[in-house]
Structure formats: structure tokens, C-alpha cells
């Protein structure tokens, strides 16, 4: 969606699929951050720990202060 800042969170086994979907959706450069797998089924404690780890970086990427995990697309 044009004009809306976004960062996609993609777990490890789906990283390549994320690249392809971003490409086919016409947004090859959409920022993506890699998460460990699985996230579903995590305990509340594990989820909080993951959020503590990810959210600061996610905010940095949203602000343009840090680069995402995906390299800039070549096409």
C-alpha cells in the first residue's frame, strides 16, 4: 500500500517465499526482518523475549535508521 511504512516479519523457512512474493507483488524492496522458526506456539515468555529482541530493530527500520535483512532488489 503506497505511503504506509511497513516491515514484513518472515520466519526462516519462508524467507525465499517472502522474496518471491515481494517480487511478484511489485515490491521487491519491501523491508523484511528474519525471525527464528517457529513463532506460532511460543510461550508468552518466549514471545515477549522475541519482541524485546525484534521491536527495537523493527522501529529503526521503520524510521530508516537501519537496513532490513533483505538486500536491495536488483530488479
Amino acid at each position: 500500500m503506497r505511503g504506509v511504512a511497513v516491515v514484513a516479519l518472515v520466519t526462516e523457512p519462508f524467507w525465499q517465499q517472502g522474496d518471491l512474493i515481494a517480487l511478484s507483488g511489485g515490491m521487491p524492496d519491501v523491508p523484511r526482518i528474519r525471525l527464528p522458526h517457529p513463532v506460532a506456539g511460543s510461550s508468552a515468555e518466549e514471545m515477549a523475549a522475541l519482541a524485546d529482541q525484534i521491536v527495537p530493530r523493527l522501529l529503526e527500520v521503520l524510521r530508516g535508521e537501519s537496513v532490513a535483512d533483505n538486500p536491495p532488489a536488483l530488479v
Binding site: 525465499q16 517465499q17 518471491l20 512474493i21 517480487l23 511478484s24
Partner: protein, 355 residues
């Protein structure tokens, strides 16, 4: 256009490029593809739509190429075209269907006067193996999804395990054996119209039932078993509760129900009613999917009676089948249908020969 020294070299290249389903294919030479395009009655560059998840453009020529590769006869081309057009309808949510970790695949059900003439089987082993039309029409659709839609396993088709129905899952309804009107009549078509119905489903789950002609409750027991299979503890239908499900009654089971006064509509209604479960059952098994409310309250798992797709197929005996579904996607895993356009083909050279 690829070039190869011989058929073996061409097949090796197609395998290496990921353009097959893992099995050998018929080499799509220009002559074979041209004949398949002629069988469509359409121009080669006619666009049918974009195939998700990667958005490849499905032209008649590309569909014809995959139809040749699948081993189809030119007579099968109108069915492949109709099935591809069906799954390209937005309501089918093809990109999501292709991308999910669930093992959903298009179940293709054919109705119409030409299906038996075309060799599309509806009886013994209709879902395979052994019936060329069934195997190759369904396979042609799969090859289109792979090669035009880009659904490569583990890369863009994320089905965790898959199943053999992802190679091909196509059959005709056993109209001449059925006590009910054709399935396609549910979508407003006349008896005899050639129609393809498609629903994304799991593979068939067996429904074993022995009738007792002395027991007036016997037909009801068959419907109870069917409902139990729809809402089996592993089924998405139990947890997501948005999808249509398919029920293939074998002709013997269909007659048990019909003989007791059941119609397709009353069967759909009763299975829908029986597919209500106590909320507590969901909480016990997969609590994350439990809707709010008391555990004793009954929760519907199928959206409406019309979401129970009842058709007649297979041979007579103890076994019918239920096809649970994914029960997800933007449109909720619903039925789509498309008329099969026949009689439009140009004269196909050497039609009686192989493809």
C-alpha cells in the same frame, strides 16, 4: 524455445529447469502444442488470466504446452481450459491456495454429456490410477500451476507434506448411476451441460458404511459418519470453519439415502446440522481456535448447507469419501465452476493419433 538433441535430452532439461511434477512428461514440440491450441478453438495468444503466486500470464499457448506435457489428448483440452479458468476466478484465492502450508489441491469434478465419451471416469478408481483422461486433465492443471504460477515446492508452494492428489485430482460425477440431479444443477446448469466444478480440498478421507435394510435409522448413520469425517480432529474445517467440503457418495450409498427419501438438499442440510460441535471440543484439541462462549454451546463448522458439496462417484460398495478443505483464504475456500466450451475446435490434424 528450447533446443535438444533428442527426447531424452529434452526431458532432462525440463526436469533440471523444474518444469515437471517430477514425473516424465510428453515433450511439448511446436507441432504438438499447435495441435493442442487448435483443439481449444481459441487463438494462441488469448489471455486467460494471471496465475498466482508469481503472477505468470496464462495464455492459451502456455496452457496448451502444459496440457501436452501432461499427456492429454486434444479432446481433453476444453476441460483443462475450463478447469484453469475456474481456479483463476478470484473466489478460488489461487495465490493463497498455492502458497499455504496446508495440503490443499484443486478437486476437479466434471459433469455433462461429453464426459463419458471423452473417457473421464466416474466409477472404479476414478481418482486413479488407470484413467488417462482423469490423470492427465488434472495433471495439466497442476503443471499450469507449477510452470505458469511458479508454485515450486518449498519456495513458493509451502505445503509441508503435500499429497498424491497434488499431482492430479480429477473425476466425473457418476450421473447415470446417481439418483440425484447432476452436481452442476446446483450452479444453475441444465442436465447434460458440460461443466467443471473446482474446490480446493485435502485428499479423500474414506467413509466406511454398511447399510442395514431392516434398520430405518441406517441412512441417518451414514450421514453421521460423513459429518464425523468432516469435523475430524485434524481437519481445518473444525478449527477455521469457513470452507466448503466435498462428499463423494458412491452409487450404493446414494441409493440408500435416496431410497429413504433424502434429496441432495436435505442431505446437505442434515450434514450441515451434524457438523455442529460443542465449543469445548475445539478448546480441548486446539484452544487457540476456540470462538468465545460457553464450552457446552454448539458451534457450526461449515458455513451453510450449500457449503456441503454432494456428488456421486466411485463404484458400489462400502466406501464413500469426504474431502475436508483448507477453510481459509480471502473468500473462505469456496466452490467455483466453469462451463466447458466444446465444439469450437478447429479440425485437428492426426487427432486419432497420439499427442
Amino acid at each position: 524455445m528450447l533446443s535438444a538433441t533428442d527426447d531424452a535430452d529434452a526431458l532432462r532439461q525440463l526436469h533440471e529447469m523444474g518444469c515437471t511434477d517430477g514425473l516424465p512428461v510428453v515433450i511439448p514440440t511446436p507441432e504438438r502444442v499447435d495441435r493442442m491450441v487448435l483443439a481449444s478453438g481459441l487463438d494462441a495468444d488469448v489471455v486467460l488470466g494471471e496465475v498466482g503466486p508469481l503472477g505468470g500470464v496464462a495464455t492459451v499457448a502456455k496452457v496448451a504446452t502444459n496440457t501436452v506435457m501432461a499427456g492429454c489428448d486434444p479432446d481433453h483440452m476444453p476441460y483443462v481450459l475450463a478447469a484453469v479458468q475456474a481456479v483463476l476466478q478470484p473466489a478460488f484465492d489461487l495465490s493463497e491456495v498455492q502458497s499455504t502450508t496446508h495440503s490443499i489441491a484443486p478437486l476437479i469434478i466434471v459433469n455433462g454429456a461429453l464426459a463419458p465419451i471423452t473417457g473421464i471416469a466416474s466409477g472404479f478408481g476414478a481418482l486413479g490410477p488407470g484413467h488417462r483422461a482423469n490423470a492427465s486433465i488434472g495433471r495439466a492443471v497442476r503443471l499450469c500451476l507449477l510452470n505458469i504460477g511458479g508454485a515450486a515446492p518449498g519456495v513458493s508452494d509451502m505445503a509441508l507434506l503435500g499429497h498424491p492428489g497434488k499431482f492430479s485430482m480429477c473425476l466425473a460425477e457418476a450421473e447415470s448411476e446417481s439418483p440425484f440431479p447432476p452436481l452442476s444443477s446446483c450452479w444453475g446448469y441444465a442436465a447434460g451441460d458440460d461443466v467443471v466444478t473446482a474446490l480446493g480440498t485435502e485428499g479423500p478421507h474414506s467413509v466406511m458404511f454398511v447399510n442395514d435394510a431392516d434398520d430405518p435409522d441406517s441412512p441417518e448413520r451414514l450421514l453421521r459418519i460423513i459429518a464425523e469425517v468432516v469435523v475430524n480432529a485434524g481437519s481445518n474445517n473444525l478449527y477455521l470453519r469457513t470452507g466448503a467440503v466435498a462428499v463423494a457418495l458412491n452409487p450404493e450409498h446414494a441409493r440408500v439415502l435416496s431410497g429413504a427419501g433424502w434429496t441432495r438438499e436435505t442431505i446437505q442440510q442434515r450434514v450441515f446440522d451434524l457438523c455442529h460441535v460443542p465449543r469445548g471440543r475445539i478448546r480441548l484439541l486446539n484452544p487457540a481456535f476456540t470462538p468465545r462462549g460457553d464450552d457446552a454451546d454448539m458451534v457450526r463448522t461449515v458455513p451453510s448447507p450449500e457449503h456441503v458439496v454432494v456428488f456421486v462417484a466411485g463404484a458400489e460398495g462400502l466406501y464413500s469419501a469426504v474431502f475436508p478443505s483448507w477453510s481459509a483464504g480471502g473468500h473462505g475456500n469456496v466452490v467455483v465452476h466453469e462451463p466447458v466450451i466444446t465444439g469450437q475446435a478447429c479440425e485437428v490434424p492426426f487427432l486419432s493419433g497420439s499427442t
